[in-house]
Assembly symmetry: C2
Homo-oligomer: 189 residues x 2
DNA sequence: AGTAAACTTTGATCCGGATCAATAAATCAG
DNA sequence: CTGATTTATTGATCCGGATCAAAGTTTACT
């Protein structure tokens, strides 16, 4: 159950066996079917997810009511709405399973308790923050410098599973273009 | 010389007097005139700046050669190109003083040495990462959800000094629109 | 399996902001 | 202080992608 998570953690921040076991003991399994809403905008941020199989989607909602996809997370990665998780504030983003998914989750308070007490786990959190920052900066840069067509090509090159596994509607939403525009881009030889 | 920095640090993460002094001892003063280039794209990331007076601008360069402003930093704030500072990698962003500025800087290796050894300074770094992440996420959201006009209004509301202190050219560049477009937005009553 | 619902494609039109161009205003160096 | 260079304004035109509309296709449910 926890093998993939163990690998992920030890790959990113070496913990002594005893501390690793302590951390793992806080992760609980959760199996959800497609389209399950795991957390809602307006609720306090409570959990961070690790994905054993499946795919999660984090999205927010514009004032006009439309959804905007922040990111997708596939197997062997973490997903949380970090902006609210950090401060334990009200969620500005929802998280949804877009496939049948097997997850492990840790409670926010447990997570930060471990950061303060388990040697090495603070470094794991630091890695998460650094990684999230770099990724986000990159995504902002892509939006600023690339056209819709270029963003699609880049996604296909760097993250083909997004295009291959998910419906066009979600891919278009992630690229911040309409389904129509994505359809035309794809058919453009 | 270090009063503003002291206040900034203690406001964000309480350090014992002894540890505070240890940290402060690594910051060196630097006075630069307008338009000084403080770090260049392609060099390794070496410094983090604290601004006593003046303004720094961090920008990157698009494949077509045009500059894109990442952010401005005014007095009483830190500025670094965190994406490269984190890993000590080659800078993908340049930093320039856009006003006559009085700075304090800390060497990257000193900074991380302190993170590993000075009790409480790791929490300061954690605060920096969390803050940078939240800010960046917000900026991405603004680009995705707002029009040029709306981004300008928001900037004027939340960060009026950018509009008031800096030339239109830089403001437009920060908003990722042309000078012409900004000029029209401003004249639109 | 069969029908409703969701998703995808294609076409016509529209609009925000870019681009190009020309002038006016401000800033800077000697 | 004055000419030179940079910056700001205003106008005309263009283009990427949105919007609206209507088929066509896939997926999901009982």
């Amino acid at each position: 159950m926890h093998e993939q998570l163990t690998k992920y953690i030890t790959d990113h921040s070496p913990l002594k066996e005893e501390h690793l076991q302590q951390v793992l003991s806080y992760f609980k399994p959760l199996r959800v079917k497609k389209n399950t809403l795991l957390s809602r905008i307006g609720e306090p941020s409570r959990r961070m997810f690790f994905i054993n199989t499946g795919c999660l989607r984090v999205y927010f909602i514009k004032p006009d009511g439309r959804e905007v996809t922040r990111r997708f997370a596939f197997e062997n990665s973490f997903s949380s709405s970090l902006t609210s998780f950090i401060g334990g504030t009200i969620l500005k983003e929802a998280t949804q399973a877009v496939e049948l998914s097997e997850l492990l989750y840790i409670d926010r308070l447990d997570f930060y308790g471990l950061v303060d007490t388990v040697p090495g786990w603070d470094l794991f959190y630091r890695y998460c923050l650094e990684y999230a920052y770099v990724t986000n900066t990159r995504r902002l840069e892509d939006f600023i410098t690339l056209s819709a067509r270029e963003r699609y090509r880049l996604l296909l090159e760097e993250n083909p599973e997004v295009v291959l596994r998910l419906p066009n509607k979600l891919v278009a939403n992630y690229l911040n273009i309409t389904q129509e525009a994505l359809s035309r881009i794809k058919s453009d030889i």
